[in-house]
Symmetry: C2
Subunit: 374 residues, 2 copies
């Protein structure tokens, strides 16, 4: 019996969080076409890739997706094999704790032994076999007791944009006990973390049983947990939509890290029962146009570092540029390190260094109520 | 009687040379949509503006246009009041001498006293009243004897991209006798020309009687003149098109400057009978995207020097950019001195300093036979 067959027959349930707006890929990403719905890397969209690489671990009917009303129709279109009822649209965004919490209470009803894998919908994974092996390992750990498993990415640079996991003692089979979750560090701290060797990037990928998660929510979010439980109880009935619409907005707006993982880890390395699985499967969260440029450059080693997506290219004294202009002939002359993204109604012109500021454009467009452009 | 009425009743015939391809405005300019057909400055196209500012000097039926088969349909569409038969398509380009020469022989047949004004079709003139006054003055000088008049632009910078006219003695009424035409100078020479004070840019705008021009061609282009005369003789008959197609390609490929003006000026300042009219009417030949950016910047003094043509703009730490993206929302963040031109099938990304290299894109596209893009 192969390892993946074990998983397929287990109680593993992937829950994909796909409610993010992803303004950092404007103008390609929009409210109704967020980053997870874009094919930023290859022909499949980010969420199709996310589901695709998990399918060897669980059949389609075990997948749950938490998203919003803007994105749900497109998600269902991109993932026609997934059960429609299991793609749930939050009436308002409440961060990750209520989202994954709702999934926990939903699963608990019929599958008390369910092991939930929580996955962002918009990350890139280079080595899918290693990825699945890590998840299977994590699912085994999560299946027993009150264990929580987090996949930790071994840092290769002093990144200040991520939270870090401080690992403690080894617990066998490569897993490490988690000592502490940290907020995003400054540059100096980040460098120290990387040098220390026992710090990992928090990937946002967690494994735990539905029971463990439900109990944790009851403990740490005592007002929110009953609301989620009440919504879950209505699932499959005519009252579900109304219940979701009425109760979900009353949930606390809080991340699962802040709500559950940090207080849990504060109990102590041994008492917290949080395990970090160091992951070496080529993870990239593609957080900006610049990150996307770097990802493509690493993959394809293009001449002069130009990644140009168009119907034809003429390049002269140009290097390090990222240009997205599908269907167009692109001429780049004497320009360096630019990011240019051409869509039918908007054109972004910036540099790799300034690309993180595109969120400001979206804010501006929001403030001007230019709805068609966001 | 106003000055313009005098001109309208005179023998003044504008001949517009509109056969140029204008690759320097790619990707906006194309073979069938050359620079003169574009509205680079205002709502009217360059050729519409050229004709419009001359109309107070001559009724529509006195205009002649020399162009080519690629551009003629669009020109006729843009200038519906001009006589179609007087828009002549060269079967092949033969530079300016055969073009204006053909016009001379055509006019000579029915209007032996015609004074021809030769005008490029793609220049900008700020002060149209001064422009027309200068032309009327020039037409008076050109009407007598074998005089040739050239409009000389007073240089305001040591431009190396233009030919210069060296003026000699004054001849009354502001006109100067021409001593010499020079080729495009190097930077040092250009600086010396500007410092000297008696050098002017050759505007490519000339005035002469049809008779003077015809005689000059017979003298200086003895093989080409009879061919042009033979073509002109067929005008208005069924044989004209065939004659043009057969004989015009046999004409010498030479500019009127090189063929007539330089040898004529070599006869000496007094014997050459060439007069330079210093022109101060705000001339600009808009020779590149960079020149267009400067022209718009001078006219409108935009914030941070950004000229952005789009359906909306967000600018952050960006200056000195020219962006042409009609109908699109444009976001420019952290970029300087760029030229970005967005068309439905092509996107140009360059800098103001490199914009003159767009001709190389066109050469590349020609060499790859990518006809739709040129």
């Amino acid at each position: 019996m192969r390892s993946s067959d074990v998983a397929k027959n287990s109680n593993f349930y992937p829950v994909i969080l796909a409610g993010g707006r992803g303004t950092r890929f404007w103008p390609l990403s929009r409210k109704k076409r967020a980053k997870q719905l874009l094919a930023l890397d290859g022909k499949q969209t980010m969420i199709q890739q996310t589901v695709g690489r998990l399918l060897p671990l669980a059949p389609p009917n075990r997948f749950w997706i938490i998203t919003n009303d803007d994105l749900r129709p497109a998600i269902l279109k991109q993932l026609p094999k997934l059960p429609k009822a299991q793609a749930i649209a939050e009436p308002v965004g409440r961060n990750t704790a209520p989202a994954i919490g709702l999934a926990a209470f939903l699963l608990l009803r019929e599958h008390p032994d369910a092991v939930i894998g929580m996955f962002p919908s918009d990350h890139v994974i280079a080595d899918e076999k290693s990825y699945r092996a890590t998840i299977e390992h994590g699912a085994e750990i999560a299946a027993s007791g009150e264990n929580i498993v987090v996949l930790g990415i071994r840092p290769n640079r002093a990144e200040t944009g991520y939270g870090y996991i401080e690992a403690g003692s080894a617990s066998g089979g490569g897993a490490l006990r988690v000592r502490r979750f940290t907020e995003k560090p400054d540059a100096e701290k980040a460098a120290a973390f990387v040098a220390a060797g026992n710090y990992f990037w928090n990937s946002g990928m967690f494994l735990w049983s539905a029971r463990t998660l439900a109990n944790a929510l009851r403990e740490h979010l005592p007002k929110t947990a009953p609301l989620l439980e009440e919504i879950a109880a209505a699932f499959g009935t005519r009252k579900f939509a109304a219940s979701l619409r009425k109760l979900y907005p009353k949930c606390e707006n809080i991340s699962i890290d802040y709500a559950v993982l940090e207080p849990r880890s504060a109990k102590g390395e041994r008492e917290g029962n949080i395990f970090c699985l160091p992951a070496d499967f080529g993870w990239n969260d593609l957080g900006s146009w610049t990150a996307l440029h770097e990802h493509h450059t690493a993959k394809s080693s293009p001449v002069e570092g130009n990644i140009i997506q168009g119907a034809g290219v003429f390049v002269l004294n140009a290097n390090g540029n990222y240009v997205h202009a599908p269907g167009k002939f692109v001429a780049a002359i004497g320009v360096s390190d630019l990011v240019v993204v051409d869509t039918p109604d908007a054109l972004l012109i910036t540099t790799r260094q300034n690309a993180q500021d595109v969120g400001k454009v979206v804010k501006y467009l929001d403030s001007k109520r230019m709805h068609k452009l966001v």
